[in-house]
Structure formats: C-alpha cells, structure tokens
Amino acid sequence: MVMDILAGVDIGDLFGLALRASIGVQAATFALAAVGLNLHYGYTGLLNFGVVAFMAAGAYGMAIFFTQGWLGGSLILAIAAGLVFAVGIALSIGLPSLRLRADYLAITTIAIAEVLRISFRSQRLLDLTGGPFGLPSIEDRNAEVSFSDIVTIDWNPINDGSYGFWRLKFDEQTLWVMILGWTLVLLTSLLIWGLMKSPWGRVIKAIREDEDAARALGKNVFSYKLQSLIIGGMIVALAGITRSMNTGFVETQQFKPQTTFFIWTVLILGGAASVWGPVVGAVSFWFIIVFVEELLRQMVDSGWIPSAILEANDVSSVRMIMMGVMLAVLMIWRPQGLVGKKEEAQIDVR
C-alpha cells in the first residue's frame, strides 16, 4: 500500500497511523468527554469551559479513594466515589453560577478548573493527591499497587497476545481499554438519545432556545440546568477515569485547560446537539491530527519542508495550532460541524 506521491512520504503508513489513532483509547476518551459536554453545551446551552474539572474530579476521586484504601480498596467503589466527586463539582459550580450570563459562566468554569488543578498540585495535599508527582505515588507504582493493573490485567478477559493486522495491531491491555471506552461511549450516547426523546430532553432544549419562554411555561430552569450539569459531568468524569486506566497514573499535567478546548474542538467538529456528533468528531479529529502531524514529520525529515519553516521537534506543537485553527474556522464557516443540524447549532445563549 505504498504510494510514493512525495518521495520520502509513505502515504500508506500515514493512513495506518491516523486510523489507529482514530479508534484508539484517546479517541474513545475524547468522544466520551464530548458526549458529556454535548449535553451541557449542545443541548442545554451551558458554556462549560471547565471540562477538565470534571475529568480531574473523576480521575482523582477514583485514584485517591483507591490508593488511600478507603472503601476497602475496592476499585468499583473507588470509581463510584470518583463519580460522586464529579457530582460534587457539578453542584459547587452549578449552584452558585448557573444564574450567571453565559460568558461569565465560561470564565467561572475555567477558573474553577484551574483552582482544582492547582489545589491537587499543592504541597499541602501531597499525602492525598501526590502533589506534582500524581497518583499512585512513585513507591506504589514500583510495588504495582495500581488501579490500571486491576482493570487491564485482573479484569481483562482477553488472552495475552497481539490482535489485529497491519498498523492496527493492539496488545491485549490496550484492546481491552479500547473496548471498555467505546462501550461506554455507546452506552452514554444511547442514554443521551433516550433522554432527548423524553419530555426532560424537550425541556432542556427549550431552555437552550429561549430560557425565558421555558420559565414562562412554569419550568424550573435552574433545576433543569443543574440536572444537565450533573449528568453531563458524570459522563465527562467517566472519560477522565477511562483515560487514567490507559495512562496508568493520574497527575495534574493531564488536566490543563488545553484539554478542555481539545474536547470543545471535537464536539464542534462532529456537531453539537447531535447524538453521534461527539463520536464522529473524536474519530475524525484524531484522524486529521495524526495524519497531518505525521505528514509534516515525514516532510520535514525528507527535506520537503525547510527547517527555517518548521523544525522536527516543533512538529508536535502543530497539533495545538491545528486545534486552534479548526475551532475558529468551524465556528465561522460550519458551526454545525460534520453531522449537526444548522438550526440547532446556532449558539446565542445568554
């Protein structure tokens, strides 16, 4: 499958790598987080710029409860604790700030996400969160007291080995987390689909379209918004937990604000306010990112791009630039993304 269009650039190789990324664990976790964000932003019109706060709440909640051995060291209960923590974050963001105007809500959520990240990093919580070292602590990682091992080894029904073909070969641990991740994406998407068919979903969408009209019909807008924040927040927390099962540890660098905007780009690319938008978005986002990045890398290596324009070790920064450009360009020319409906994706929230 090698097509030499440009000498030194292996198109088949690029396709393989991009395809691999588009179905990988990262794509699954981004899709899952985008499903949650879609409920917030796409359906309810909440401008949540603190997506990572929910991911961090889920991942850290799970990791803290597990490594501290609270709840008897049960991983299932620790995951539940992570979800409860995410509900707590949703309440503490929502109760005071859901009455704010949209752009104020955006600033508040991004600030709360940073407060959470910096607090987790603080020396004072070193014993609980591992501070800058993260969880599990260095000693525990050596002693193999790891939550990810329980999921990827103890709970793994797949026999050891390598599965798949060509570039799409995965070992049994990665494959298992992929299956778990995409299953969660499927289940939560079906949940959203069901919710949007229900009377509850119609109220939510009515609030997005015209909050005052919904209020005039006697609906408790605040309560519905809070419910949406909680449900979406728990889905995003699941994404945080799934990702930490893949990386094997939780640390604050994983929860920088840029992750929030990656997920926003995924959602807008796929199409906000559509059930399958997040999935389409995540798959195509990772395909595009990895394809272009690898293409640039090979072109730089083979001299097609002079080093004055781009150097080899700068290629990874291109990902961030592509994310930014994609976000802006989509917003301007195609706010409904790939599969969304234009009339539903016009954001004019207050």
């Binding site: 401008l47 005071p96 700030s97 704010l100 105007r101 949209a102 752009d103 104020y104 955006a106 600033i107 508040t108 991004i110 600030a111 709360i112 940073e114 407060v115 910096i118 607090s119 990093r121 603080s122 020396q123 004072r124 070193l126 014993d127 501070g131 260095i138 604000p257 840029q258 905007f261 926003w264 807008i268 781009l310 150097e311 700068d314 920064s317 291109v318 961030m320 630039i321 994310m323 930014g324 450009v325 994609m326 976000l327 802006a328 360009v329 917003m331 301007i332 706010p335 016009q346 954001i347 004019d348 929230v349 207050r350």
Partner: protein, 422 residues
C-alpha cells in the same frame, strides 16, 4: 496558620530524598534537620543486607553526618536517636531508610522528621518591613495587570467580545521587544526604542485583528459567544506560533539582567522596579486623562455605554472600535514588556496571565477601563500579600478565588453597572 506552616514543612520532607553527587567515593551522608533547624548528637547507623553493622556515627553541631560504605549493594540507614523534645519521626514514616547503591558515589539520605513545637518552624519572622515589601511588590504586579487588562475591558465594552486571545497580545508585546532588543542591538540605553517599537507593533496587531478577523465576523452577524470561541482558537494559534518561531526557553531582557537592590526607607527593590512602577502609573494616568478629556476617549466611553445611541448622535462606531483595538493591544504589549522585565519572557506568558487578567477585569467590572485599573491593582495586592501568610504556590489561587467570589456575589464588578448583566 501555624498548623498550616507545620504541615507545609512536613510535606516538604515527606519523600526521603535519595540524591547522588558526582564524586567517586562510596559514602552515605546527610543532615539531620527539621526545616532549617539542624539537630546535633543523633546517632545514625548503617546495616548491610545481611544485617551486619557497617558503621555508626553521631551527627555534628551542624547536624551533618557521613559514613563510608564498602561497595555497592543494599543498605539500611537507621536513625537511632536521641531526638530532642518536640521533634519526632513523622507519622507513617520510618526511622529506617532502605537504599540500594548501584554506583560508587556519594548518596544523600534524609529522614522524615516533624516538629511539634511551632517556634522551630517559623524561620522568617513576619516583620512590618517584610509586609510593606510584599505590599509594594503587590502594587507593582497590580499596576502591570491593570495595564494589561484595560484593552480587554475596553474591547468588551465596545463590542461585547470576551477576547481570550488578549493574553497572547500581552505575550506578543514581550516577545517582540525581546526579538528587537537582540536582533537590532537595542540594549542598555537604547532599550526604550525597542519598547516603543514593540508597543507600536502591538498596536498594529490590534488593528489587524479588528480589520482582518473580528470586524468582518461581527458584520457577518456572528454572536459574541461564537466570537469568543473563535478568540480561543486564535489564542492557541498565536501561542504555539510563538513557541515554534521564538522557542521554548524562558529568556530575560539583556539590558536588565540581575540588578542590585536599592533601598528607599524600608523598601528595597531593584532599580528597574522603580522605573516599572513609575512608567505603569504614569501610563495609567495618561489613559485615564485621554479617556476623560479627548474626543476619541469620550466616544469610546459613549460606544461602550450604548452603541446605538452613540451612533445616532454622530459617533463613527466602527472607527471607535478600531481605535479601541489599537490602543488596547498597544497597552497589552506594554504590559507584557513590563511583566517580562520583572519575570521572564516566554511563549507561555499569555497562558499564565490569562486568568489574572480575567480576574482583574471582572473584579473591576467588565467594560469599564477604570474598573480594569482598580481590579488589576486589587488582584495584584491580594495575591502578592497573601504570600505573607500562605505558600507561594497558592498565590494564584487567591486571585482565582477572588474572581469566583466576585462573580457570584457581584458579577457586575466593583465599578460595573447592573444593567450589563442583561
């Protein structure tokens, strides 16, 4: 407060540090201490993996001890004691540290100790001078944040856009000044030329953003929320272009490397800080006068108050918006250069200052230039003086906490008008 300080110190000792120096002797050494207080006359013993004692030593007056070991292998370093009253092994920690020596070299071994007596923990006495210096430092940071924030607030006032790329305009100014300084040799006495040029280029950046991006999009009837998302995309584009074409290394302006402090009564600052405070203060006063007294300033305030009314009374709204972008961006650039002078110039500057700027602007009231000034100074003072009581890494949290509380209690800010909430 004392308990917090105690906890912080214990935390800093929580990992038994096992570091290695580069000399070629097989030695274990360390200092028995709690915080900065050293503990003499404590017996340390080393046992090898077979349980045989290799050596034993008593810590000296400076708390230091050193025991040579025969070769590589696994050893246990034991803290035998006696520890003075009020000092103990940290809860959950052990008086034994296992060390595996893989190379023949000096290995440092530490123990996790804690002091129950708080007096041994507070090493810097909280003096009035120290507090005053923190206040001055807070004033400096506050003035710079104010300088950087005015543009954001004015742009919001006239267009309704919350511009997430504003902090990148701040970083852009700092980076351009650095590039001008090094490439055109504008060092020392010529540095002000680089500053002026960078501020002018910053103004052109604002002109470009308005004429090239946000103006046309506004006429396309895009909502302010969509434009805000566009500005986020733009911020990432600008930030990572600076990374690629300027580099990842934090740099400082050559003209102002390390300067010796100059005392002014109880205040001690490097000379550049006096200049920075003076320049920032004078600039803010000039901006205030311009807004209050000139035609353009009046029309900026008028458009900010009510664009439709301003337009019907003969003000060219689009021209006013253009000038707001130019001035706001130039001021952001100047703020960036000043911040770069006090700290470092790097591509991540914008990301680091973004939320401080937002905090300042919302605290003062989105849309009012004076609000940004008041908010900036308040945020600077609050975060810098907080280090008098709290850890350094928490000062950013103070600013964010102020931001969140203000949004919840009085979202229109100190000087904002209630109607803005819509």
């Amino acid at each position: 407060m004392l308990i917090f300080a105690l906890a912080a110190f214990c935390a800093s000792l929580a990992f038994p540090f096992i570091a290695s120096a580069l000399d070629n002797e097989a030695v274990f050494r360390g200092t028995v201490r709690v915080g900065r207080e050293v503990i003499p006359d404590v017996t340390i013993t080393i046992v090898d993996d077979a349980g045989i004692e290799i050596g034993s030593v008593v810590s000296g007056d400076d708390g230091k001890w050193e025991i040579p070991i025969p070769s590589t292998g696994e050893y246990t370093v034991q803290l035998i004691g006696p520890l003075p009253d009020g000092i103990s092994i940290k809860e959950g920690a052990s008086s034994e540290v296992n060390v595996i020596v893989e190379e023949v070299r000096t290995t440092s071994v530490g123990f996790q100790l804690q002091a129950e007596d708080q007096k041994t923990v507070l090493e810097i006495p909280p003096t009035w001078e120290r507090f005053l210096n923190r206040m001055i430092s807070g004033l400096k940071v506050g003035l710079l944040v104010a300088l950087a924030s005015i543009g954001l607030s004015l742009i919001f006032g006239v267009t309704g856009l919350v511009n997430f790329a504003h902090s990148e305009m701040v970083a852009f100014g700092a980076v351009i000044a650095l590039v001008l300084e090094s490439s055109m040799g504008l060092t020392g006495g010529l540095f002000p030329i680089a500053v002026v040029l960078a501020v002018v280029i910053g103004g052109f950046l604002g002109l470009f953003l308005e004429k090239g991006i946000f103006g046309p999009l506004r006429r396309k009837k895009m909502t302010n929320i969509s434009l805000m998302v566009v500005s986020i995309g733009l911020a990432f584009l600008m930030r990572y272009l600076m990374l690629i074409y300027h580099g990842a290394e934090p740099e400082t302006y050559d003209s102002f490397k390390i300067q010796k402090g100059v005392s002014l009564g109880p205040i001690e600052l490097p000379p550049k800080d006096y200049y920075i405070i003076a320049i920032a203060f004078v600039t803010l006063v000039i901006v205030g006068v311009l807004l209050q007294r000139t035609r353009l300033g009046t029309s900026m305030r008028a458009v900010s108050d009510n664009p439709a009314l301003a337009e019907s009374s003969g003000i060219d709204v689009n021209r006013t918006i253009m000038w707001v972008w130019i001035f706001g961006s130039a001021l952001a650039g100047l703020g960036g250069i000043m911040i770069g002078l006090t700290q470092v110039v790097e591509w991540q500057m914008g990301e680091k200052i973004l939320l401080l700027i937002f905090a300042a602007v919302t605290l003062g009231g989105l849309g009012t230039a004076y609000g940004a000034m008041v908010g900036g100074i308040a945020i600077g003072l609050a975060s810098e003086t907080s280090t008098f009581w709290l850890d350094n890494d928490l000062k950013f949290l103070i600013a964010l906490a102020v931001l969140i509380v203000i949004l919840l209690v009085r979202p229109q800010g100190i000087l904002g008008v209630r109607e803005r909430l819509g």
